[in-house]
Point group: D2
Chain length 346, copies 4
């Protein structure tokens, strides 16, 4: 940490800062600049120190030098983390596709969709049994009934199941059925939930908060890793900006940036990232070309009758086309589709 | 709702939309414009209809006409809601000030601060016993021990206590001590928590999510009202924008806008809205002049040793000055301070 | 400036940075931290140095310590700048109001409005003769004809005229008629125009760019001051955020922040900042309470027939009410209205 | 256009709106909904009508149905526009790469770079002779001297030259040397400049404003098309959001969205879109996979001594790698590199 003194600070103010650093077991190294004095701080800095120092007289500001996350940083663990979900490997230099309906609506809908996405190369099945809805008057999911239908689809197709957990009260019930516990964007900084879910021990898919910086997102992952669960899959799902022509703004920069800063795998969610099914295909191709370790996609047998997010769901036909084109792009950047990989080793 | 057809849509596509509307019990009224055909929809529209229609062939987009929230709208209830917290009335044409430390740290800190803010005109005491922290390595609060200290301060000063509840698991324990249950910005769309807290029946202070539009925020309040709890105090605490010179961007426009759209009281949180104690005073004055029904402020006996948010906390002296200047501005816009009001009726 | 080295950098990389600093006449002072090495740079740093150093091997990042603007900073000139516009003093502890129609439309419209705003206490007349319009098909102003009408209104009322200059080609013609040369939000970083306008020597009203940080805005002002023109009035007019319920998000924090960082006067534009006439009054009161040195307001004799921005224009009656309430709030924060001030000395 | 009446509007207010529509030659078609009355407007609506109506008593809001741009819309011209720059075809199903230094610094720098990028497959040379700089104290370009160096590089390599024009005063001089006139992000809504540049008749590269919505951007293009110049190349260069870990947020969604809404070609600028050279390669691949018609890239012989934007410039080696990998991805999505295409037809 660096402490920047105000220009014109007094000797007493300077001494106060140096004394305070000593009190907390750190050492201060002053540098007299042309316009400002800066004090370099050596030692292990605790997070609140910055706040404390910034309120002291004569202090202009402080500057962090080290990153505030540790366990999820590349510096801590240089090698890529591969998350293994019942044999599906995410982050192993392949493109893993998680597909299925936004919300579980009926046995027929889930079974038909699970078969269709399996056949077209998906590695996992997604589907919401508990749905976060902006309005209390919207359809909110089939709850445990929905989880059972997902389990039934897994039993038939062999696809592991990824589903959202929205509240601490339902961690247990979701954990009974899910293979991947998904944390949604609105809970991306619900720290109690992050810790409860971490403790289950199953892989966690952590969506980026819609206004979370990359640093916030990695710190949220840190909550999970700090509880001893290293199986975190990060998911970029678009951020909120001034642009209203699309539901969110897909942050393509975040993909290579996260790969640089962290060892965790990162996938992309073009369904929510665009909010428009006709933009999903090109954005899938773009995110994979930029280095995403996978995709999560909404697929529905009949999007125009979907109870949730129909406007961004793919039909089986358009999903098939996305899978074919994605595979071609994946090969172009030196990767394979995760299911191809499985096939190849069979 | 209006359904806008694509230019060049076919007769079949048009008929499909009209048929679909009929299926769900609505009637469609086509208008042929110079460039586009639009279908006006008459009847009670359910939230998913928009999504369903937008995926139909020939449909360009849909446009909502009615607001999606009901119970918290002015149209539903034209008269201002006054939230009564043990005799403290929020929304009654006065300025109610909730003040105290960001985090409860010790008996001495809480008791000293409670007495100081009481003496200077605060109507309620705030203090965090459970703290949401971006990093898992930061100080996270004294938990129930902290709640007990708040209750002790209430016993001595008579000030009702406002404190944050961060998780469903702690709703019960917080409810045992709090007079106002606060929902923080990171939980502003944690819908399960909103409903659990609503059911307690005590007044709720609902902070705006850092990326929540005014509509999102009112819909979050709707979750609470829909559970039968009408005692919601809205709190503007700044939104996340590109500006980094301040911690958040205080949305002054939101104050009069919310007063127009809703009957609920709305207060302002300049401590978080600015993140810098030296900006707190002018922004307090501004938010009150713009119509805020109150303020929530961080006050600490010794901000430069605070375990949390010291940089935005006021000293007792600066709090005193803020209260005096705020009272003058409140009078200028035809209001009284809530504690003056109490005094005047005694 | 501080240079933060990557963890694990080599000795050669470190030496390279030290050598480079020496080459450009600066000295480097290394501090070995627990996790990182940081090099403090002493000497006058030129703006490009940061870019240069960040591309060197072994360098993680650089951190600026001094602010990049000079002439407009408080450190450079501690005393408030008072901009004198033909006797109207902006920044002298008063609230100066600039009012008039968005666009000049006709002699009758301008003359009627000028008289009405004069009578109600405005200090200057505004009106657009050249209008920036998002669409090429919108009304774009009466051009020189409009300037002549403004001059005629000045001749009758004595109010100085503030009007926008949109292009270098029209700097001369605008300068012939205007008392204050206004730079609009879309030209806030049109650096050639800033310099051309500066050279005219008349006071400049510089609106904040809709996506300009406070630092960008002060740097734009620096372009004007660097050409020897110190008469700059800054104008906060709202920034672009994700919120769509209002036209822009008025940044109230920016008012006290700019007063702290700079000696220049800063006024507020609630007409553009909200985009809705019914929000203008409360936001005027709020901005003045927060320390604004003035207001610029759109007033139209018949807003529902205005050729531009009718939705945010005040009628004469609502303007009168705004002036009365603003005066009361100004007094509450220890200020007078600029026209009162003039009156008092008469 | 649709006019949404307030709930509880009077008969007189309704009649007033109908009368006003008639006055301006339009016809109104009322629809009585369950909660609101809406009036459909038939006829050619002028842009100001919306503002006018929104201020009338009883009117809640208006909703545009048709897009406000015409000439650049797909509806107006369904076939892709191919911009021909001295034989280099942009938008013809290929990927055209424009490469060169951020700023022209010296003969050696320009000539070396021009040869290097030509050799590695670039289709055009870029280089700034007039530089927009946030600070007045930064290096601002060699001006006409720089243009002459670009012309010299063109003479030797045959690469057409793309360079920025920043002011009306320099349109003529830039037009004498440039093959593509570039409008930068800070001038993206400098409407006078757009029109002056349009009139030159040469192809225009129009960068998106850093806070311009896709609609704003297309309307800016409309200014150029409306002056009779159809040769516009759009360029996505990142938008300003809350994320500070990258210089801008590259909006990948905008690529397929613009291709859908408009017939104009759209290219991407990952150098500015990321601000970090190590993110440029993956983002290039992503933007091309998503459908970009080309790339514009900063390349410098010695980025760590660049006078401008060194941190985001590629070396010759990294540019070579980007070109090879981009070609592979282009093929995967069914495109060729523009220079390959030229080669193939030779």
């Amino acid at each position: 940490m660096m402490v920047v003194m105000k220009s014109g600070h007094s000797r007493d103010e300077f001494d106060g800062v140096m004394r305070r650093l000593e009190e907390v077991g750190l050492s201060g190294h002053p540098i007299e600049g042309a316009e400002r004095t800066v004090i370099g701080v050596v030692g292990i800095v605790y997070p609140e120190l910055s706040d404390e120092l910034e309120t002291m007289p004569g202090v202009d500001s402080t500057v962090r030098i080290s990153s505030p996350y540790k366990l999820c940083s590349r510096e801590f663990k240089p090698a890529d983390t591969i998350v293994d979900v019942k044999g599906v490997k995410v982050g192993a230099g392949t493109v893993a596709v998680i597909a299925g309906p936004c919300a579980v609506e009926s046995e027929e809908q889930v079974m038909t969709t699970a078969r269709a996405v399996k056949e077209r190369g998906a590695s996992m099945l997604r589907g919401g049994a508990f749905k976060p809805r902006t309005s209390p008057y919207s359809f909110r999911g089939l709850e445990e009934e929905g989880l059972k239908l997902l389990a039934q689809a897994r039993a038939e197709t062999g696809l592991p199941v990824c589903t959202e957990v929205m509240s601490e009260a339902t961690v247990d019930v979701v954990a009974r059925y899910a293979d991947v516990m998904q944390i949604g964007t609105r809970n991306a900084q619900n720290f109690f939930l992050l810790e409860e879910v971490a403790k289950v021990g199953k892989p966690v898919l952590l969506k980026r908060g819609m206004s979370a910086s990359v640093m916030d997102w990695l710190l949220a992952a840190e909550y999970i890793l700090a509880k001893g669960n290293r199986n975190v899959i990060l998911c970029e799902r678009g951020i909120r900006t001034f642009e209203t022509a699309t539901r969110n703004t897909m942050d393509i920069n975040a993909i290579p940036l996260v790969k640089e800063l962290s060892h965790l795998p990162v996938i992309a969610d073009p369904s929510h990232g665009t909010g428009k099914w006709h933009l999903v295909e090109p954005v899938c191709l773009g995110m994979v070309a930029a280095g995403a370790d996978g995709l999560i996609l909404e697929v529905h047998p009949n999007p125009d009758h979907a109870l949730s997010d129909g406007a961004q769901s793919l039909t089986f036909d358009s999903f098939e086309r996305v899978m074919q084109r994605t595979a071609t792009v994946a090969h172009a950047v030196g990767k394979r589709m995760e299911r191809e990989a499985v096939g190849a080793t069979a």
